[in-house]
Structure formats: structure tokens, C-alpha cells
Amino acid sequence: MHGLINRAIQCFVTDSYGPEKWADAARWAELGLVDFESMLTYEDSMTHRAIDAVCHVLNRPRTDIMEDIGTYLVSHPNTEALRRLLRFGGVNFVEFLQSLDDLPDRARLAVADLELPTLEVRDHSAVQFSLVTSSSVEGFGHVMMGLLRTMADDYGALVVLEHQGGGQGSETISISLVMTEFAEGRRFDLGARMS
């Protein structure tokens, strides 16, 4: 799996729990390294072992960890670049949601060898959607739960999310939009310079 994905897991642990916890997890997973390089590619099994190790070291259920990773990805100051890139997807939460279909292609435009899990958004009504994810990483749907919840806050929308389970690598999340402009949301300045 791409280094950016592995690095995201590492940075989540380092930024949230400190470098020692990550070092513990890397040792427990027998990764043979401490630092993932974001621009290299690693064997898929290393990613799976890393996630198992993080759950073990932090002693928390996999679903919680996965959801926290999703939240971390779009809320931590260190990952502001990613939040901005996602915000380019649409001017409101519904547009953003509908842009998720294109997310793997958008990611590939930026980093040609970055393969993201497949995402499929289905519109059931103007306020009812479902997102189907398919990934070899078990529990990836929970990453999207955390990410969607945080992005909804970012846009100021009020949504209700429910993980509906799944199987064979596929997971489904139901998304109910309660209010599009519930709160002010966070500002998105097109011209802000990322440092």
C-alpha cells in the first residue's frame, strides 16, 4: 500500500499519542522500520499489521481506531493540506459527498501511483445518501465515518451517519442530511497558501 496511507496511520498515532506509542506499534507489528516514507510503496501486509498493532498497543477496538484516523485526517493541523484538497470537491456538503466518486481519480492526478479504496455514492433522495466503500483494509468504512462526520462539521452541515456493516471488503454507510446550513462551518479560502 502507498506510503501516504501508511504514513497517515503513523502520523495519527504520533500526533495523537506520541512517538513512543508508534515505536511500540511498529515493533509489535515487526515492520522492520520506524518511519514510513510517504513517497514509497510498501507491501499490503505491512499496513494490515500496522493497524492491528496500533489497536493492540492503544488497547482499543478496531472500529474506534479507524474512525479516529478518519477524523484525524481532516481535523489535525498537520493534515490541513488534505482537508483543503477535499474541500475543493464542492462548495457544500452534498456537492462534496457527490465528489467522493471521483476521489480515487483526483488522488491519482496528484500522485500517480496512489490507489485509494473505491468509493461509490448513491443518492436515495435529496437528503438521503449511502456510501459504499471497497478496500482490502477491514474497517475502512469506519475511516470514512470519521472523515464524513468531520467534513460535515467543516461545511456546517448536520448529518446522521450509520455504519450498516458489509462483507467481502465492502462496507456501507448511510448518510442522512438533517440540515445543510446548521452551523457556520470552517472557512475555506481558495487562495490560502499552504506552507
Binding site: S38, M39, L40, L85, V91, L109, A110, A192, M194
Partner: protein
């Protein structure tokens, strides 16, 4: 029929950066994004060619000239700060004698979104501007990650080179390694010897047969030195065609002499490279370290150098043992002569 106001309304959505110019050259309508370019001042009523400087095609100065340029690409610049570069295209307007000019930021988009605080709503839904901004940001982030990786790899490479102890061409120890080994020997303060070996005629091989031949000769010569020394001895390449052998466990003068003779003999056999015969020889200077002599590694190598210099002066393919008299000897080769006479 579509009414005049309806047309302007459509255009505001389809081309938010358009202006309509009347026959006197004044702007009579401007799309919502153009309004943002004029720092709050009204755009309608401005003369088009005063608000925008036409950079290309250059010669156009009147509305009549502009009309003739219909369909050609215009390069414009905002006449007030921040002097943003714009691209435009012009066609006859919705009413007689009017001109319709549609503008775009082109490559200046990155600065423009910041300078004018533009948002997604300022661009037509079909405009690629937002995708372009996304790509610039995504690519910059990816480049930055790659740049950091390159810096780390470069740092690791330099560190690895600095820590290397092996001469990559010959597989022998390098100068750095020899410095370490000598320092350790001196610290142990036991009797040992070093031989400083310098190839003779190697430059001629390099010059006449090429560097590939020279490299091959160095590899063969290195193998010979390793074969002709004892297991416990260490051979290092310390310069282009310079070698140092460290011989521990206090070898006798005669044993040392025997090793030197065998190395010179073997080296002098022709070395075949791609059907070409390469011939070299070697001069050797040797020096002993005795316990309690308080010689530094540098001083010991300097002694061996003095002896090596004597060998060279004596006509090459010679070996000499260091003795203090050599430093002043008029004929430095005498020492070898003396040695040969003795043995």
C-alpha cells in the same frame, strides 16, 4: 426572443467574467466576477481600454479596431494594481454596435484567487479553474513530500559514504579504514610493520590503454597483494595507485622482505586486458612500529614514505626499510643495497 436583461442574466451565469462594451468604448454591463477586479469601484461606465491595457495585439486603440479583432485571442492587463494579466476573446455584443468580451485569468489564476478573494461561486460551473487550483495544491504537496524524501535519502547516502570502510573498485579497505586500523594497532602498542606500496608505470597504463584498463590492473594488483600477504595482514588502497599493508604480530625483517619480493614478482607479470598487455611494477617502503616508540600513525606512515622515496630513487621495483639515516642519505638506495648484501 430573449430579452436584453435575460441575455445579461444568462451571461452572468455562463461567463461571470464578461463585459459588454458600447460603441463609445464604455462598459455597459459587467459579469459578477469582473466587478471584483476593480477594488469596489463601479465597473459600468469605465472605458474598456482604460480599465484594461491591451498587450496583444498591440496596435488596437479604438472600438473600431477592437471590432475587427473579433474572434482573436487578446492579452490584457488590469490597468490598476495588482496589474493582473488576463486573457480575453471578443465577439459582437447582444445589441448592434456592442462588443462582448469574455475574460479569463489564464495562468495568473493562482495569484488572482488570493488578490481578489475569489471563491468557487466566482467561476462558471464548467470552468476548470477550481480543478486547476486543486491540482496545483495537490501537486505542490506531493512535490514537497518527494523533496523531503530526496533530502533524507541524500543525507543517508552521504552518511553511508562517510561510514564506508571499503574501496568500491578493489574491495580493499579504504584510507578511512586504514586510519582506524593503524590507530587501533598503535593503541595496543605491539610490534607491527607497515608497507607503503606505490605502483610503477601505472600512469602509463592509464594514459595509453584507458581508464578501464587502469581499473582492471588495480583489481588484479589488489588480488595479488591479498594473496601474497598473510591472513592477519590488512591491505588498503589509500590513493589512486597507492596501497598500505598493515602486518601485525611483529614480522621479522626477512619475512617482510620475502612478502615484498613476492608481491613485486607477481605484479611484474603481464596483465592482459582485452587482448592488450599491461605491465606495471611496484616500489615499496616499509617501517616498523616497536612498543614504546611513541610514533603516531602519521609519523609511522611518514617513515614508510621516506623508505618508499628511497626505493623510487633507486630505480623502482625496489623495497627499502626505513632507518633514520635515510632522511639525510645522499644515496637513499644504499640501505637496500646494504640489506641485500647482508642477506
Amino acid at each position: 426572443m430573449i430579452g436584453r436583461n435575460a441575455t445579461a442574466g444568462y451571461l452572468d451565469v455562463l461567463c461571470p467574467m464578461h463585459v459588454i462594451v458600447n460603441r463609445s468604448g464604455h462598459i455597459v454591463h459587467a459579469g459578477p466576477t469582473v466587478q471584483k477586479l476593480h477594488s469596489g469601484k463601479p465597473v459600468v461606465g469605465q472605458r474598456f481600454l482604460e480599465m484594461f491595457v491591451l498587450k496583444r495585439p498591440r496596435a488596437l486603440s479604438s472600438v473600431e479596431d477592437l471590432r475587427k479583432a473579433a474572434g482573436t485571442k487578446l492579452h490584457l492587463q488590469l490597468s490598476i494594481a495588482p496589474y493582473t494579466a488576463l486573457k480575453g476573446i471578443l465577439m459582437p455584443g447582444p445589441q448592434e454596435d456592442q462588443l462582448l468580451v469574455n475574460l479569463s485569468f489564464g495562468i495568473s489564476i493562482i495569484d488572482a484567487v488570493r488578490d481578489f478573494e475569489l471563491t468557487s461561486a466566482d467561476f462558471a460551473a464548467t470552468d476548470m479553474a477550481i480543478e486547476m487550483l486543486y491540482l496545483v495544491e495537490a501537486k505542490s504537496a506531493a512535490m514537497e513530500a518527494s523533496r523531503k524524501l530526496n533530502l533524507r535519502l541524500q543525507g543517508a547516502k552521504i552518511a553511508a559514504e562517510e561510514q564506508a570502510f571499503t574501496d568500491t573498485l578493489t574491495g580493499l579497505k579504504n584510507r578511512r579504514a586504514m586510519d582506524h586500523i593503524l590507530a587501533r594497532q598503535i593503541e595496543a602498542d605491539c610490534k607491527f610493520a607497515i608497507m607503503h606500496i606505490d605502483l610503477d608505470f601505472f600512469k602509463a597504463v592509464n594514459d595509453t590503454k584507458g581508464h578501464a584498463a587502469g581499473d582492471y590492473v588495480l583489481q588484479v594488483v589488489s588480488r595479488i597483494m591479498v594473496e601474497e600477504t598473510r591472513e592477519t595482514d590488512t591491505v588498503g588502497r589509500v590513493g589512486g595507485d597507492e596501497f598500505i599493508v598493515m602486518l601485525p604480530n611483529g614480522p621479522s625483517e626477512s619475512a617482510l622482505f620475502g612478502i615484498g619480493e613476492r608481491i613485486i614478482d607477481k605484479l611484474e607479470a603481464p596483465i592482459m586486458f582485452q587482448g592488450d598487455e599491461c605491465r606495471v611494477s611496484a616500489s615499496i617502503g616499509s617501517a616498523f612500529y616497536s612498543p614504546g616508540c611513541n610514533l603516531s600513525a602519521e609519523a609511522l606512515i611518514a617513515n614508510a614514505d621516506v623508505a618508499l622515496y628511497a626505493s623510487k630513487n633507486a630505480g623502482r621495483a625496489q623495497q627499502t626499510f626505513y632507518s633514520p639515516e635515510l632522511e639525510h642519505a645522499e644515496d637513499p638506495a644504499s640501505d637496500v643495497q646494504r640489506y641485500r648484501q647482508v642477506h
